[in-house]
Symmetry: C2
Subunit: 225 residues, 2 copies
DNA sequence: AGGGTAACCTACTGGCGGTAGGGCGTTACG
DNA sequence: CGTAACGCCCTACCGCCAGTAGGTTACCCT
């Protein structure tokens, strides 16, 4: 998709001489493709250079290092995911009032699992497994976790209570881990649709989340059993 | 711990000449240590050789490759974790009958989070992030997931109903993902005890699990809302 | 004593991430 | 129209590291 419009733009500069910004976008697109099919360790900068019809120093001049290239690719994917989930949740808000939270959870889950299903290959490389530093993977995850956390606190505020912020953060983290794990599992299965995954996910987590919100509205001190 | 008893055993063979089996255990112990402090990519086989007081071909003769060394280390850790959680769950069984499942969940969670807390460094390397192939990480995770899955079906059978095996597998996967994610998150936090984590985890998941079991005993067809 | 084997070593290859330093169009300016 | 500056790009190389070929030494068993 992005690659096609890029090749078109690139064809305009017949002499192979291409402005920095465009070359950078091309390298990011090809890099993501390469990581997806070879994995981080398996992808070589030489091959990326060959595919782009360019020599290695060009890449290092624009991107700095292999690690940074990977981070940029992962950031783009994470941003894409974030937007999809966020907009899905926002669109799901105006439903029957009593189950607004449930509708949001359902819509967000569905968007997440659909994204994972559409990006199978990219998914497993960019999110599961590979980034050399846990720190980087963590910071990418952070964006998604922050979204979940914001939604949780928002829902809690509607209930009028104040939950322990720490517990909210932890719960968001747990939900996100469950999301990723489920998506990875489903990628290895056949005939498991995002809709089914959402059904199961909601069945597992919604009751606990509702109780959490209720204990919040009952005031502090009742969160612990 | 294992390293100390090993150095003792090694001291017995003064000439540096050591039987294969013992050398292998030594390399596995030192390898796990090295992976924990340098990460997979950062750990070099040359350094492992130096630390073991041995040349590289010895390692390759015994372990085959860097990847296989890592797998063996991860397998040992996974097995350790598995035993701890399994025995904790088994020991928690004979409690008040009505909340047997809850006691099991609580005991298992606590054992898991304690393990993660004790092995901080090893944990992040062996489980989060780094293994080059998602396939391998997945297969290691599988052991733990299988345990959770077995516990779930066991609990479901006590309720007398038959749930969709597929959903049980997915739920186990989700729970495991939540476990790992929470453990990783907690490793970066201060003053979050395994007990607190367990509390939060149970609050989030127990209600959904109980409903699942109840819908199971009501017979098939009622799992979907 | 003498073969056979188990444990081990030195020295090398190939590939990859990353870099030094130079070439060559294109544009700006006198 | 010449020339200087700048942006885009390349060839050729370095150091590191996983993995290997082939030889060496101590031990054991007959």
């Amino acid at each position: 998709m992005t690659v096609d419009t890029l090749t078109e733009e690139l064809a305009a500069h017949a002499h192979g001489r291409v402005p920095r910004a465009l070359r950078e976008r091309q390298l990011l697109a090809l890099g993501a493709e390469l990581f997806a099919e070879r994995g981080y360790a398996g992808a070589s900068m030489d091959e990326l250079a060959t595919r782009a019809g360019v020599s290695k120093p060009v890449i290092y001049d624009l991107l700095g290092s292999k690690e940074e290239l990977f981070r940029r690719c992962a950031d783009l994917a994470a941003q894409d995911l974030h937007e999809r989930v966020a907009s899905a949740v926002a669109a799901a808000a105006p439903v029957a009032d009593a189950t607004a939270a449930e509708a949001q959870l359902r819509a967000g889950s569905l968007a997440f699992f659909r994204f994972a299903a559409e990006h199978r290959r990219s998914w497993s490389v960019l999110f599961a497994g590979d980034s050399t530093f846990t720190a980087e993977a963590e910071s990418i995850r952070h964006r998604q976790t922050a979204l979940v956390e914001a939604l949780l606190t928002g829902a809690a505020l509607e209930q009028g209570g104040a939950i322990d912020a720490r517990q909210v953060a932890a719960t968001a983290q747990a939900l996100n881990g469950a999301f990723e794990s489920l998506a990875n599992w489903a990628a290895a299965q056949t005939d498991v649709t995002p809709e089914t995954l959402t059904e199961w996910f909601v069945a597992l987590t919604l009751p606990g989340l509702q109780l959490l919100a209720r204990s919040a509205s009952a005031g502090p001190g009742s969160a612990r059993r």
